[in-house]
C-alpha cells in the first residue's frame, strides 16, 4: 500500500508538471499563429478591447457585430476583468502589454502617466469628422487636465441627454402602492409607513418571508445601494463620495455631512424594527438578485442597471405588480431629489487607443465610425427588417424584439442590439438624426410604451404619464458646471487617492456596523467614525478635491 500510494502521488505530481509545461508552451504557439493570421490583408482586423466594466464572456458574432465588421473591417475581441477587480489596469501597465482599445474607467490616469495610451487630438483634427460632429463644443470636456489638456479618450456617456427615467433612488413595489390606495410618498417617514403597513398585512409573499427593504452592501455595490442613495435622500447631486458646492468651488467628503448621519440613523432604526433585510450586508449579488426575482422584496435603493435581471425575471414570470416604481423620496420635505439633474456631457471616462497597438489608425477610424449616424442607428436599433422596421418614415422596433428587450436578460447579448452603445461614443437619448427622429430607442414615447402593464395602471391612478413626473424637473435643477466628481481621473498614488481609498474603506465598514448596531449607540459610533476620518487627514482630501473641481471648471470653460 505504501509503495503504491507514494508512486501514485509521484505520478500525479509529474502529470501536473507536464500539464503546466504543456499549457505554457501551448499558449505561445497559438499566439504566434494568431499573429500570422492577422497579417493577411483581406481578413478583417481583430482589435482587442478591454472593458473595465466587467461583463460576461462574449464573442463578436451577433448580427449587429457582423454588420459592424462588414462596414468597417474590424472585429473586436472583448476582454473583461475577472469579478470586476481593480488591479487589471495596473497589471497591464506592469507587463507593458496593452490591448488595442482600452476602456479603463477611472484608471485612465494611470495609463496616461505610464504612456500606455496615445493622444487623439491630431487624429480628431485630421479625420475625426463624426466625432467632431457628435461632440461639438463639448469636445473640451474630453480633455485630460489643466497641465496636460490633450484628449486621450472618447466615448462612454451620451451627448445631449434628456431625462425620461431616473435611476438610483428608492424604488417601491407597485403592489404596495396598489394595496395602500396609491398614497403620496415623499419623505422617509411616508416611505417607512407604507412599508410597515404592507408588511403587517402580508408577512409572507408566495409562501416566503416578506422583506420590506433590501440593500446590497457586501461588495463594491455598497456605494450604489447604501452610499449613493444616502446622498440622494439628502438632496445631493450624483457626485459619488463627494458633495460639491459649485458657487464656492468647494468639495466635501460626503460622509462628513450631518444630513448623511440623519439618513443612516433612519436606516439604523429600520434595522432595529426588523424592516431592513438582515442579510443586506452579507449576501452576494446573486442572492440579492434572486431575492428580488422572487418578488418578496418590497423596496430597494438601487440603480436600474444593477437589477435589470431581476426586473426582467419578474416580468417574464407574470409578476408585473412585483416590479418597482422610482420614488422622489428625501429625508424630509425641505430637501429636493436631484435625480433628474442635467450633468452635461460628463467627459472623463472613455475608450483610449494603446500606444503599443499596431492598428492605431484603424482603431481610431473605428471609433470615429461608431460616432456616425449610421453606426449609432445600427447599435441602438439593430438591423432594418430584422430588429426594426420603418413605418411611415419612422423607426419602430419589431414587436417581438421589444418584448424580448423588456423581459429577456440575454436579448442584448444575443442580438447585439444595444450592446455596443456604452461605453463607445454615443449620442444621448435626446439627440435626433438628420431626419429629425430620435437616434436611440429610448425616446420618451418609447420609454412610456415600454412600461409593463402594472406600471401603466399605477401611473394612470397617479394621473401621470411617466414616473419622472413626480420628481423635481430638470429645468428647475440647473446644469452642472463641473460634471460629476466621481468621474474625475485622480492621479494614481496621489495623496487624494490614498486618503479617499482609506476613507472609503473606513466609512463602508463603520457605517455598516453603525446601521446594524444598537440604536442607542448610533451617535457614539458616528462620532467615532468622524474622529477617525479626521485622523486620516480628510480635510486635506477636501482641499485637493476642491482644487480639482475648480480646475475642471476652468478646463471646460464653465467657471465664468
Amino acid at each position: 500500500m505504501a509503495k503504491k500510494l507514494s508512486k501514485w502521488l509521484h505520478a500525479v505530481l509529474i502529470l501536473f508538471t507536464l500539464i503546466a509545461l504543456a499549457a505554457c508552451s501551448d499558449g505561445e504557439t497559438s499566439k504566434e499563429a494568431e499573429n500570422e493570421e492577422e497579417g493577411s490583408s483581406d481578413e478583417p482586423i481583430t482589435l482587442t478591447f478591454f472593458n473595465a466594466d466587467g461583463g460576461e464572456e462574449k464573442t463578436f458574432d451577433d448580427p449587429v457585430a457582423k454588420k459592424i465588421t462588414e462596414e468597417t473591417g474590424i472585429k473586436l475581441e472583448m476582454d473583461y476583468p475577472v469579478g470586476g477587480n481593480d488591479e487589471a489596469i495596473p497589471l497591464m501597465i506592469a507587463s507593458g502589454e496593452y490591448p488595442d482599445l482600452i476602456f479603463a474607467k477611472g484608471d485612465i490616469g494611470k495609463l496616461i502617466e505610464a504612456g500606455g495610451v496615445i493622444k487623439l487630438d491630431d487624429l480628431i483634427e485630421e479625420k475625426g469628422e463624426n466625432l467632431k460632429a457628435m461632440y461639438g463644443d463639448q469636445l473640451d470636456r474630453l480633455r485630460n487636465s489643466l497641465d496636460d489638456p490633450s484628449i486621450y479618450t472618447v466615448g462612454t456617456y451620451g451627448v445631449e441627454n434628456a431625462y425620461w427615467s431616473t435611476s438610483g433612488t428608492f424604488q417601491i413595489q407597485l403592489d404596495v402602492l396598489r394595496e395602500l390606495g396609491y398614497p403620496k410618498i415623499r419623505t422617509l417617514e411616508d416611505f417607512e409607513a407604507a412599508l410597515t403597513e404592507y408588511y403587517e398585512k402580508y408577512p409572507e409573499i408566495d409562501g416566503q418571508k416578506t422583506i420590506p427593504l433590501s440593500l446590497l452592501g457586501s461588495d463594491w455595490r455598497w456605494l450604489i445601494t447604501v452610499g449613493d442613495p444616502a446622498g440622494f435622500a439628502a438632496g445631493f447631486a450624483g457626485d459619488g463620495q463627494w458633495v460639491v458646492d459649485e458657487e464656492a468651488g468647494e468639495a466635501t467628503y460626503k460622509f462628513l455631512r450631518p444630513e448623511l448621519k440623519e439618513y443612516f440613523k433612519w436606516l439604523n432604526s429600520m434595522n432595529a424594527k426588523g424592516l431592513l433585510d438582515p442579510e443586506s450586508f452579507t449576501h452576494t449579488y446573486d442572492t440579492y438578485i434572486s431575492k428580488l426575482s422572487s418578488g418578496r422584496v418590497l423596496s430597494i435603493a438601487d440603480q436600474d442597471w444593477n437589477f435589470t435581471d431581476a426586473d426582467k425575471a419578474l416580468v417574464a414570470d407574470g409578476k408585473e405588480w412585483r416590479t418597482y416604481a422610482p420614488l422622489p423620496v428625501t429625508i424630509s420635505e425641505e430637501y429636493t431629489s436631484k435625480s433628474l439633474k442635467n450633468y452635461g456631457f460628463a467627459g472623463g471616462w472613455g475608450i483610449a487607443i494603446s500606444s503599443t497597438s499596431e492598428y492605431q489608425e484603424e482603431a481610431f477610424e473605428f471609433l470615429d465610425w461608431m460616432a456616425s449616424e449610421e453606426a449609432q442607428i445600427l447599435v441602438n436599433w439593430g438591423i432594418e427588417g430584422e430588429h426594426y422596421d420603418i413605418v411611415d418614415g419612422k423607426r419602430v422596433m419589431q414587436e417581438e424584439d421589444r418584448e424580448r428587450m423588456n423581459s429577456d436578460a440575454d436579448y442584448s447579448k444575443e442580438t447585439g442590439v444595444g450592446y455596443y452603445v456604452y461605453p463607445f461614443p454615443q449620442w444621448g437619448n435626446g439627440a435626433v438624426d438628420s431626419s429629425g427622429q430620435p437616434i436611440t430607442p429610448n425616446s420618451e414615447e418609447q420609454t412610456i410604451a415600454n412600461f409593463n402593464s402594472a406600471e401603466k395602471e399605477a401611473l394612470k391612478e397617479y394621473e401621470m404619464e411617466n414616473w419622472v413626473d413626480w420628481f423635481p424637473q430638470t429645468e428647475d435643477l440647473g446644469i452642472s458646471k463641473h460634471g460629476q466628481a466621481f468621474n474625475y481621473s485622480i492621479p494614481a498614488g496621489s495623496e487624494l487617492q490614498i486618503i479617499q481609498q482609506k476613507a472609503d474603506d473606513l466609512t463602508e465598514q463603520r457605517i455598516t456596523q453603525a446601521i446594524l448596531g444598537d440604536p442607542a449607540n448610533f451617535d457614539q459610533a458616528w462620532d467615532d467614525m468622524i474622529t477617525e476620518l479626521e485622523a486620516m487627514n480628510i480635510e486635506k482630501a477636501n482641499e485637493l478635491m476642491s482644487q480639482k473641481v475648480k480646475d475642471t471648471m476652468e478646463l471646460w470653460g464653465t467657471n465664468e
Partner: protein, 343 residues
C-alpha cells in the same frame, strides 16, 4: 502550479524520512561516518561527484529553475527604495531610500493586516495540521480497504473546488436561511437565526473551519504516505506485547512520523505570513473587514492597485524577512530537540 510546487518540495522530505526509518531498523551510522572525512578532500569530492553524476544531472534543471525564478527576481527588491514608474527604465527611477518603509510602518491599517494575517495563519496551521494528522491516523487504522479508499477520495475532493465556489457554499450555509441556522433553530438551540457572516469575532473561525473542511483530506495524504512506510514488524512486536490499537497509534505510528510532522511544520511556519488572500477576500464583507484584511490584500489594494509598485515591493520584502526569521527560529528549535530539520 504553486500547489504542485509545495507538494513537490515536501515530497522528497517524506521519502528521506521514510528511508531513515528503514535505516534505523537495519543498522545505523555506516553511511554517516563517511561524510565528514570526504568533505574537505578535493579528489574524493570529484570522485564522489562522478559517482553521483546521474543524480547531479537530474538536479540541474531544478537548480536552474530556482535561480531563474527565485533568485534573479530578488533584484526587483531595489524597487522598494525607488519611486518606481513603469514607463521609465529601471535605472532612471528616483531613489527615495526608506520612505516606503516609513510610510508602511506609520500606517495603522498595516498593523491590522499583520495581526489578521498572523492570527488566521496560526489558527490555520494549528487546526490544519492537527486535523490532517488525526484524519490520517483514523484512515490508517481502517482495515476495510474499499471504505478507506472511498473515504480518502471523497475527503480530498473539496481541495479541487476553487475558493470562489467554496466561499459561496460557506456563505450560503451560514446565511440566515441557510442549513446551519435551520438546524440550530430546528433543534431548539437558538430562537433567532444567527447572522454568522456579520460577526467580526467569528470571521477567523469561519475562515479556519472552511480551510479545514477544504484541505484536511489533501493534507492527510502526505502523513498517510509516511505512516504506510512504518515497519510492520514494529506493530507485530507491539501486538505480541499486548498493545491496544490506541497504544500502537500513540507509541508507534506517531513517533515514526514525528520527523515528517516537524519538517512540514517548519515549512508551513515559514509560510505563516503567506496565507494568500482569496479566502479572506471571498468570504469577507464590509462588516468584518477589520478582521478580514490581510497583508496580501492590503498590498494589492494599496500597492499595485494604486499604482504604488514600490510600496507593494516594500510590503513584499517585509513579508520575506518575517518568513526567514520564522524559519530560522523553528529550524533552530528542531535542531535543539534533535529532530529532522530543513537545513
Amino acid at each position: 502550479m504553486s500547489q504542485a510546487n509545495n507538494a513537490s518540495n515536501t515530497q522528497p522530505e517524506a521519502a528521506t524520512s521514510v528511508g531513515e526509518q528503514i535505516q534505523l531498523g537495519t543498522g545505523t551510522g555506516l553511511r554517516k561516518k563517511k561524510k565528514p572525512s570526504a568533505g574537505p578532500d578535493q579528489k574524493s569530492f570529484w570522485k564522489r561527484a562522478s559517482k553521483q553524476k546521474a543524480l547531479l544531472l537530474m538536479s540541474i534543471p531544478f537548480v536552474i529553475w530556482l535561480i531563474v525564478f527565485k533568485y534573479i527576481p530578488i533584484a526587483g527588491w531595489l524597487m522598494a527604495f525607488q519611486d518606481y514608474k513603469p514607463q521609465f527604465g529601471f535605472l532612471e527611477q528616483d531613489w527615495v531610500g526608506l520612505d516606503h518603509f516609513k510610510d508602511l510602518f506609520n500606517e495603522p491599517m498595516f498593523y491590522t493586516a499583520l495581526e489578521n494575517t498572523l492570527g488566521m495563519g496560526i489558527l490555520g496551521l494549528i487546526f490544519g495540521t492537527a486535523s490532517a494528522i488525526v484524519f490520517a491516523l483514523l484512515l490508517n487504522e481502517l482495515r476495510f480497504m474499499v471504505v478507506k479508499k472511498w473515504t480518502q477520495t471523497i475527503s480530498y475532493l473539496p481541495h479541487f473546488v476553487s475558493w470562489v465556489i467554496a466561499a459561496n457554499i460557506v456563505i450560503t450555509m451560514l446565511s440566515q436561511e441557510g442549513i446551519i441556522n435551520n438546524l440550530l433553530t430546528g433543534m431548539g438551540f437558538i430562537d433567532n437565526p444567527i447572522n454568522f457572516m456579520a460577526m467580526p469575532e467569528m470571521f477567523w473561525g469561519i475562515v479556519t473551519a472552511a480551510d479545514v473542511w477544504k484541505e484536511t483530506g489533501w493534507n492527510a495524504i502526505i502523513y498517510l504516505a509516511a505512516m504506510a512506510g512504518v515497519d510492520p514488524q514494529l506493530y507485530e512486536a507491539a501486538k505480541v506485547d499486548g498493545a491496544s490499537r490506541i497504544r500502537q497509534m500513540w507509541h508507534i505510528t506517531l513517533p515514526s512520523i514525528r520527523s515528517v510532522i516537524i519538517v512540514l511544520l517548519i515549512l508551513n511556519i515559514g509560510n505563516l505570513i503567506n496565507i494568500g488572500f482569496e479566502k479572506q477576500m471571498l468570504l469577507g464583507n464590509n462588516i468584518v473587514q477589520e478582521k478580514a484584511l490581510v497583508i496580501d490584500l492590503y498590498a494589492l489594494d494599496y500597492g499595485i492597485g494604486m499604482f504604488r509598485y514600490s510600496f507593494g515591493t516594500a510590503i513584499g520584502i517585509f513579508k520575506s524577512v518575517i518568513s526567514v526569521i520564522l524559519i530560522l527560529i523553528c529550524n533552530g528549535f528542531a535542531k535543539k530537540i534533535g529532530e529532522g530539520r530543513v537545513f
